[in-house]
Symmetry: C2
Subunit: 303 residues, 2 copies
Amino acid sequence: MKFEVTILGSSSATPIYTRHPTAQVLNIRERLFLIDCGEGTQMQMMRYKIKMQRISHIFISHLHGDHYLGLMGMISTMHLQGRINELHLYGQQDLMDVLEMQLRLSNTILRYNLIFHAVRHYVSSLIFEDEDILVRSIVLNHRIPCTGFLFREKQKPRKLLINKMQQYNIPFIYFNKIKNGEDYEDDYGNIIKNDELTVPSPPPRSYAFCSDTIYDENILNDVRAVDLLYHEATFLHDMEDRARATYHTTSLQAAELAKKAEVKKLLIGHFSARYKNLALLLDEAKSVFQNTELALEGLRFAV
Amino acid sequence: MKFEVTILGSSSATPIYTRHPTAQVLNIRERLFLIDCGEGTQMQMMRYKIKMQRISHIFISHLHGDHYLGLMGMISTMHLQGRINELHLYGQQDLMDVLEMQLRLSNTILRYNLIFHAVRHYVSSLIFEDEDILVRSIVLNHRIPCTGFLFREKQKPRKLLINKMQQYNIPFIYFNKIKNGEDYEDDYGNIIKNDELTVPSPPPRSYAFCSDTIYDENILNDVRAVDLLYHEATFLHDMEDRARATYHTTSLQAAELAKKAEVKKLLIGHFSARYKNLALLLDEAKSVFQNTELALEGLRFAV
């Protein structure tokens, strides 16, 4: 089952040519979730052949422009292209005020239902759930209210071994119970252990998105042992003071966090415009946490 | 003296890849004026090597997203890059409400002075003047309040013929009067006609920007005989009904307007995303007004 993230932009506040502001598309079982939507995201989607109308849910971390200024244009384009499917939007309460003002001034009545879900910035919460996944907010520590997002697959029931069902002639109505771990007792009172009838489903995968934030170990519990952690790494560690002053993280710190949280893989992004050569940021992170990659736009990472 | 316009985008509301929404930079004697600022304009400036910080005045025609959604990002980038020079912004009153809300929510205190000038949409007015040029608003006829802009050089005084100044031994203090057309009377009462002492300066050049609008001959007086008229041409004329319904203009109509206004040259833009082949729009306009060009992004036109 697909669970992958495509990077559409990973520049920090000032874009430089070929580096766009933050936006990512998460594909979970062919369902598309957009995370942040910096200026130009709709053009980036065209470039990387992601169908905008397939996006059902959008998550915005905070109201610095490089994380949401592409949203109004995308909402408008979805409308102009005839969208009728509802769109769910998650973000800080004030986000909807900006959009409503812009819709009103452009005299736009959306053809589809835009459903806004206010995300509280001061407490980690379950903000989305369907049959396959859970999304929780992560409290980040930035200059303005800001949340990260944790996408986690639900633990699927165990898988039935069909040949065993046939061998023991187990009626269909018992299948769900067995999937959920129960043993089977046949008409003669013989107990067949669940282990013999099923195999476990693959462990649930998880992706955590953390941008923007100062280095803050308070998020360790939220992101512990995730398969893939995206964490901002705006500066090299020689600019730690600047990182602290602007509530950002250094590449070294992002790697330390990944190590302490025992994540499987780290993806760094939100690169300051001052770095043309991103290899420096990557090398610094790898010196602490080897399994790190740069969140370069256009790249796709399996979770 | 330079007077040229660079097209940064000329797509209508829905951008398609390689066609960005409306934005143009006017260079008048090395002073840069930005006209409209669709999403991605700051990236387009980088692409076409236009220095954002050199822009002193921004003119926004109306509050449909494809004409202003790049503004907040640009204002923010100017700030982050350390701008201190003031920036003048011209647009509908409500534009500043949107910007102020976004600045407040992102907790941004600009380092430079952003001076807003509200443009009235119901009357053509002089909105800017310096020693070289005048800018007037043009009342356009669109679904929401919308103005075009007319940039016109001031008529310069006549040029002195230096050899004549020497021949008649004319004192310096008379130069300004002679430049302004007066004859010269020497100490013996001889009148030397101004025609013999000066030549006229080149005629003032003018550029009119008209987007978006239904076909409306009310603008003829505003744009009469301009050197270069940019006029929207969203549709081919077989979609005249759709153009009327959406308050847009067809390519044929734009050309008819150019012809009736006796402009020197026509530039068409604001192309609907439905047209991959823009040559159709160009051919249609040329069938009525030969001296027409497509406002393709990256192109630069001398006025």
